[in-house]
Amino acid sequence: MISDFPPAAILILGALLVPFFKGNAKNWYVIILPAVAFYLISQLQIGSSWQVHFFGFDLTFLRVDKLSKVFGYIFTLNATAAFVYAFYVKDSTQHVAALFYIGSALGVVFAGDLVSLYFFWEIMAVASTFLILARKTKKAQAAGMRYILVHVFGGLCLLAGMVIYITETGSIAFNAMTDRNLGTYLILIGILVNAAAPPMQAWLADAYPEATVTGGVILSAYTTKTAVYTLVRGFPGWEILIVVGCIMTIYGIIYALLENDMRRILAYSIINQVGFMVTGVGIGTMMSLNGTVAHAFCHIIYKSLLWMSAGSVLYMTGKSKCTDLGGLYKTMPLSLIFGGIGALAISSFPGTSGFTSKSLIIDGAIHEHLVWVWLVLEIASAGVFLHAGIKFPYFVFFAKDKGLRPGETNKPMLIAMGFMAFMCIFLGLYPQPLYDVLPYEVHYQAYTFNHVVAQLQLLMLSALVFFLFLKLLKRTETISIDTDWFYRKGGRLFYYIMDRGLNGVNALSDRAIARAIPAWLGRFSRTPVSSMVTLYMRATGKDRRSIEDFRREANPEATTLLPMGMPVFISIVFLFSLFVIFAFF
């Protein structure tokens, strides 16, 4: 049946035809592709699968259940909006890379086994790198290189873990992992690299802000969220993930508060948001897993929206540092309003999608009586409003007017942002359609008087703190050192040490073994007697002058006191005759 076709194939095969379209037709084509994929995913029957026999494995390229379907929906929905946003981009390379990237993310989500999952995982890493390189700046190229190297490392961890796992269990099926051994931990590490979990998180804030305007929008959604999907599928209830997730939420806030570049603020806030999801996976109850999936769904929408809003500012002004921006509400009111809705949604303001999704995770922690986890998540929720909810719109659109008068951005961008803003509010007011597609049944009502008052107290007091501390939050033209220091500066330090260390040994060997010793041996074999006498005289403490006098006067070799040539000749003749005797007789 045609509808049982892997949706990844539509985007990946469809990408190959992109260069044949010209002008606006190209843009319409790339908008329609994910929309078609969305429709086909909605037609997929739960439980159907599509297998291929390959090198002795039964590869499952399509496994349809509620979990894979909900990620399929949001991936294709977001892709459609992102391509509307990217209507001005006529560069085929970017569109092909984006389609490969999104297609392989769908491939991961619908993969029923580890081998095909790994296959799509790696395509994703490579395709996404092109979205960074497409910016064509020197910084973007360097960041892209670091990005792919980190992902190669993560991919290798994943591969090593899978090899161990498959050898041990004899099965390539990808389901919830129960054994905790080297294999599963390596798989977990490989996935956590993509989820941007510390200490391998710096790649995200390093690379995404260097991507193109539209590249940033697309990148923000897929790599981390496929990792979240993989965690939900493979590692529900692994307690270590609670710790990792809680660290991520706080880490993201601290760095976002320090950051000056608006897209880097949003990049750090991805880490903060994924932290909530990872915590939900670690808690591992039906409610918290539902929460993780719902939050991933809503997060993709509002985070894309925030990147779109920041992207339109970058597109119109060419600037992305808070210190260069400000006062844009006068000329870009629509970008402000749409971005503001995204900012409210990420802060889970009542009435937006964040409120109806994140509450599931927090309630999951409450139900398990995890008091510290709950407290960290509430603190982090307050902090989200600080760094993403207020800081981003305030410094970009208000704050000090820097005299920029760019005017509003183009229509397709506004349409895409308007649609995403509508989704944020729609799912905030009427979350039932989302709850219906979650993996487990939902019995949850976000809108109780208590909950709304509590959430509003938390957020409005955070807002108060922001403006009271505004002087402390004033932007400076600085960057913050992150764990990428170890491979950026540390790498150089390593190079320096190796250069000085190993090349030092090299130079020393060159001087000692290659030059000094042979030279000395050469001298010694030419004048063995006087050399030995010299050594003896030196050892007995004669001064340099008398040694030289002796050598000049005696010159034992020159007087053929010791005929060296003759014995050598005799030995050679002797050795040769031995050789002849052994060889021929």
Binding site: I250, I253, I254, L257, L258, G327, Y329, K330, I366, H369, V371, W374, E378, I379, A382, G383, L386, F398, D401, F449, N450, V453, A454, Q455, L456, Q457, L458, L459, M460, L461, S462, A463, L464, V465, F466, F467, F469, L472, L473, T476, E477, T478, I479, S480, I481, D482, R488, K489
Partner: protein, 83 residues
């Protein structure tokens, strides 16, 4: 020739003053609203009036001050990695 007056509502000092008053009023009202909620604390210590207001205020203050503290170590010039 007189230029068209730009929309600068949010730059005016009187607007900013109004917004401050609004912000304080909303915060106050929310704490008052807490008197009308049914208290059912999850962990015992979170039952008092204005708990979430206090949590928001304290945690955000601590987060900002903590970030200023780590900034002493972590902040670097923009060309730090280029050198």
């Amino acid at each position: 020739m007189k230029q068209k007056k730009e929309f600068d509502y949010f730059d005016r000092p009187e607007t900013i003053k109004k917004l401050w008053i609004m912000l304080y009023a909303i915060c106050g009202l929310l704490v008052v609203a807490d008197f009308f909620t049914h208290r059912h604390p999850h962990f015992g210590f979170d039952g008092f009036i204005g708990f979430y207001a206090l949590l928001g205020f304290v945690s955000c203050s601590v987060l900002i001050l903590f970030s200023k503290l780590v900034a002493l170590v972590l902040k670097a010039k923009e060309d730090y990695y280029d050198k």
